[in-house]
């Protein structure tokens, strides 16, 4: 291709990149302005001076509570999901039993379920066992609903593990638990880290379950919390901007460090559907 052709291509690709990234840059810009400046100067102008106060102000509100709730729900659910998924995937792919492919099917069908179709019964169930407005309801739902996709990502890796490892271990008198926790699990660290990242993105951004099952402010997560918060600060765009930036920062930082893992996980999860 000639030079002109290439330049046109790059301009097009560049425009797409601008479209993808520009709203976020604009968000950061208005999060550093005060209301007067936001409404008096053109939307695209840079802040006269950086108003970090916006961040201080929102952090001193409930955002810090929401933030730490998001952190711990996300973490606990990830640990549960990855361990349970690894154990089930190990039993399905490495152990010998008749129903293994049927059980695998049960998990994989879970990938197709629209969560809204199960929301009302879940609500009723949690109401019955008194788990409404209890973080436990959130953590177990996150775990259950992320199991299928997590196993889907793990499967391919488990299938490729060489048989000889198990044979050698068992001949040496190794128990299943020891084989799994001491030998197999450590070998799956690369694919496990991919599932951790994917789970992190899902849990951190989840909205419907928290919005439905949690009512007290002290248990809300960022995605739901920022909704109320933004309601309070209707016209204070600086505060709203700062809130949104805080809510997306952890994922962006993770992306900066683990973009390859994220890309891997997202491509693996694409096969679902």
């Amino acid at each position: 291709m000639n030079k002109l052709g290439y330049s046109i291509l790059y301009v097009c690709l560049g425009l797409v990149a601008v479209f993808q990234i520009f709203p976020l840059i604009w968000l950061v810009i208005f999060s550093l302005k005060d209301s007067r400046e936001i409404f008096a100067s053109p939307p695209l102008s840079l802040p006269e001076e950086l108003k970090w106060e916006n961040y201080v102000k929102v952090w001193q509100g409930d955002i810090a509570v929401y933030f730490f709730n998001s952190v711990w729900y996300t973490l606990v659910a990830i640990i549960l999901t990855v361990i349970l998924a690894s154990m089930a995937t190990f039993a399905i792919t490495r152990m010998k039993w008749k129903l293994s492919s049927f059980v695998l099917g049960l998990f994989m069908v879970g990938l197709m379920i629209p969560i809204h179709s199960s929301l009302i019964p879940l609500f009723k169930m949690f109401l019955t066992v008194d788990l409404i407005d209890n973080p436990l309801s959130i953590i177990i739902t996150y775990t259950a609903y992320n199991l299928p996709i997590t196993m889907m990502i793990l499967l391919g890796f488990y299938y490729t593990l060489p048989k000889e490892i198990e044979e050698a271990a068992i001949i040496d008198g190794c128990s299943i638990n020891r084989l799994f926790f001491r030998i197999i699990l450590p070998m799956t660290v690369p694919v496990m880290s991919t599932t951790v990242i994917i789970n992190m993105i899902y849990n951190w951004n989840e909205f419907v379950f928290v919005n439905t099952f949690i009512s007290s402010d002290k248990y809300k997560t960022l995605t739901v919390g920022i909704q109320n918060f933004i309601g309070q600060y209707m016209t204070d765009w600086g505060a709203i901007g700062a809130t949104l930036v805080i809510s997306i920062l952890p994922i962006l930082i993770a992306f900066l460090f683990f973009s390859n893992k994220i890309v891997e996980g997202i491509s693996a999860s694409a096969v679902k559907g």
Partner: protein
């Protein structure tokens, strides 16, 4: 060896915790949704069995059909947008410098929550101070529509953030598939005098048809389940112009406390999603899968 690896107790110990979780939290609720759909129920009081009444009401409910229509419109938009994503991926995969970096930049919106995206785009569309109208103003458009307040444009306005959010995802999938095509095929075509366009259209796209079909299913089925973004951006408004199936169900149950009817709609959503999935799979399945 075989004895150890087929130890029933260990198998149960390893699979049951996960199975019990999905059983209780995914499969039982799905069945219950269909069952609650047969009830008149406000969510708190006693349930009263009314047979298929809710389902019959739903089939005659214009609001339900409108929301289904909006869901399908979004599904069609999403499927069509795949063409743009495919073109971008074809360009990116043609040994262009910086492709990796661009692909990662495109992916960033995909990582954000729909709630944050919704809030950000509410600001983008803001008539007084949003960037969209000030950019349009710069190009001399004086009377832009009230994007989220105009029933005629609201669905398109909602579709743009969707396009924005998922672009990187589909580009990533296509790009990965295109990278798997052996160079030799493309080289051979070049020697035969094929243009870049012909190579893309006649060789590369057909070779990744399997992946394209998967993305069609993903885009369409995904659109039927849209909720967060619409719930936050418009709440289904103005006057129901952006209501989709999931938001209608949610409103019935958790805003008007009509849990029986909401369940019926939820069950219909499940049935429609499953039918559409199977239907598109059948439609896009071909016996001649490409081999290379």
């Amino acid at each position: 060896m075989n004895k150890v690896m087929s130890n029933k107790l260990m198998i149960a110990l390893y699979t049951l915790p996960a199975l019990i979780l999905i059983g209780i939290l995914i499969y039982i609720p799905l069945g219950l949704t269909g069952y609650y759909g047969l009830m008149k129920w406000d969510g708190i009081g006693a349930m009263e069995f009314i047979g298929l009444e809710n389902y019959i009401t739903a089939l005659q409910d214009t609001k339900f059909w409108e929301s289904a229509y909006h869901s399908f419109l979004l599904a069609i938009f999403s499927a069509l947008s795949l063409i743009i994503y495919l073109i971008i991926s074809l360009i990116l995969a043609s040994k262009i410098k910086g492709a990796d970096l661009l692909r990662k930049i495109y992916l960033i919106p995909m990582l954000l929550s729909s709630v944050a995206i919704a809030q950000l785009w509410i600001k983008v569309y803001n008539p007084a101070n949003g960037i969209l109208n000030s950019i349009l103003g710069f190009f001399g458009v004086d009377n832009p529509p009230v994007w989220l307040g105009d029933p005629k444009v609201v669905l398109f306005a909602i579709f743009v953030p969707i396009l924005w959010q998922y672009a990187g995802f589909y580009i990533l999938i296509y790009y990965a598939a295109l990278k798997n095509i052996p160079d030799s095929l493309v080289e051979a075509a070049k020697i035969d005098g094929a243009s870049a366009f012909q190579i893309a259209y006649k060789i590369k796209a057909p070779l990744i048809m399997g992946v394209i079909k998967v993305t069609i299913v993903l885009a369409i089925v995904g659109s039927l389940k849209y909720f967060d973004l619409i719930y936050v951006m418009t709440g289904g408004g103005p006057s129901g112009a952006s209501e989709v199936m999931a938001s209608y169900m949610y409103k019935l149950a958790f805003a008007t406390y009509d849990f029986g009817y909401g369940s019926a709609i939820g069950f219909l959503l499940l049935i429609i999603t499953l039918i559409v999935t199977v239907f598109i799979r059948k439609l896009t399945a071909s016996d001649e899968e490409v081999q290379y």
